[in-house]
Amino acid sequence: MLEIRGLVCRYGKVTALDGISLTVPEKKLVVLVGANGAGKSTTLRAISGLVPAASGQVIFNGEDITGMSASSILAKGIAHCPEGRRVFGQMTVLENLEIGAYLRKDTREIAADRDRVLSLFPRLAERRRQVAGTLSGGEQQMLAIGRSMMSRPKLIMFDEPSLGLAPNIVEQTFSIIQGIREAGTTVMMVEQNAFAALDMCDYAYLLEAGSMVLEGDGKELISNPHVREAYLGVTAHA
C-alpha cells in the first residue's frame, strides 16, 4: 500500500534520513523503532509532506506522492497523528474533531463519524464542549487519535502515541490502535516503547542514525540479540 524507496531527507547540512526503504502492506500494522534522533519522526513527516525529500520516492497505492502538499497527501488517504498529540488547545473537543474532517464536504457523514468517535471515547463525549487544552494527557491522546480518524484515512501514521502517558493509558492507547487496524485501516507506528510496539505489530523496521539496519516480524526482532541489548534493556548474557 505504502512504499518508500531510497528516501533521503536533510535539515540544512544534517542528513536525517540516508536512503531508507520500507513497505507497509494493506491492513497491516507496521512499526518503526529506534532511538531518539534516529529519524523516525522525520520519516513520517516526509511521508505526510511536512518535510521535503532530498531524493527517493514515496509511493502510495501505486502513485508517486513525493513532493505533494500535506493537504493533497491527506486527501489521498494518509493521516498523520503527530508526536506530542498536538490537539488545538484553545478549541473545543468538537471543533478539534471537525478540523480533522476539514477536507470532507459530506456534512451528514461527518456528523456520523464524529458521533462514532465520541462513542468510541466516552470521556471525550462527556467533555465535548470543553476546550482541548484543559483535557488530561490521556484524553488529549484519545482526541488526537479520534481527530486523525475523521478524514476517513486508508492509512494512519501514529508518532509516539505512548509518549508521556501513564502505563494504564498506554495500554489503552495501544488497544485502540489495534482496534483501528482490526477495523480495516492500515497503521504505521513510530514508538520508543519498543517491546510493546514489536509485540503488537505485523512487521517492524529498526532505524539507527538515519539508516534502516534491521527488519522482520515483531517476534523476530524481539529475539534479535542486538535489539534485545540496545532497545529492550536485556543484556546478551542474561
Binding site: L50, S69, S71, L74, F88
Partner: protein
Amino acid sequence: MDQLLQHFANTIIMGGTYALLGIGLTLIFGIMRIVNFTHGELYAFGAYMMYFFATIIGMNFFVAIAFAIAAGMLLGMLLEFSLLRPKRGADIDTTMLIMIGAWIIMQNLEHLTWGGIAKSIPSPLPETPLVIGPISISWLRLMVLVIALLLIAATYSVINLTKLGKAMRATFQDSSTAALMGINVNAIYTLTFGFGSALAAAAGALLGPVFVVTPTMGDLASLKAFAIVILGGLGNITGAAIGGFILALAEEIGAGYISSGYRDAMGFVIIIIVLLFRPTGLFARAERVG
C-alpha cells in the same frame, strides 16, 4: 451633565471605528504575530479609495464603502503574498523591518498620488444633526457607527462560527498540525492578513467622510490601533472591540475635561498604564504554557 452625555454619545460613535481598527490589527499582530506598521497606511488607503470611488468616480456612497473595503483586502493580501510569505519563519525583527519599509513606501506613494492637500469626501446624508434631548449626533456619524457594528458582528461570526474561522484559529495555534489536517496554511496566512487589512480600510473609508483625508492620517491610526490591541490583549477579538470603546472614552474625557490637545495623547497614556499594571491586556485569559 448634558456635556457628559454628549461625550458618551461621541465615545460610542468613535469607539465603533476604533474597534474595527483594533480587531483588524489584533488578527495580524496578536494572532499572526506580525508587527504590522502598515495598518495605519491601509486605513489611509481605505480613505483614499473611498475618495476615489465616491468623489472622483461618483459611485453610490454605500457601494463605494464596499469597494474601498475590498480594495483594502486585496492590497493586504498582496502585501502578505509579496513581502511576508518569502520570509515565513523569519524572526520578528526581520518582518518588523520589512513592515517599517512598506509603511514608508506606502505613505510616500499616497503623497505622490494624491498630493499633500487634504481631500474631503461629501456625504449624501442630511447635514442637520439628529437631536435627542441634550445630545446631537450627525447622521453621517450614526451611519458610521451602524456599519462599524455590522462589520464587527460579521468578523466575530466568521472567526467563531465558520469553517474558515476554525481553520484560521487552528493555523495560528499550530501551523504544522493544521497542515496535517489538510488546511492550506499559506492561503490562511494571506487571507487573514487581507481580512485584517480590510477592517483597517473599512475604518478609513468610514472616517474619511467624517474628517478629511491626508497622506499622514495613517500614523496616528496605527498608534491608536496598537494601543487598542495592547489594551484588549494580543489576539483577543472581544478585547479589541471593548478596547476600541475604552480608547474612545479616554479620548473624549481627555479632550473634554483636560484639554482638547490631549485627545490624541490618551492612547499613549493608556499604553503606558496597561503595560505597567496589566501587561497581558485587560481581558487576558490565563494561558497554559507547555
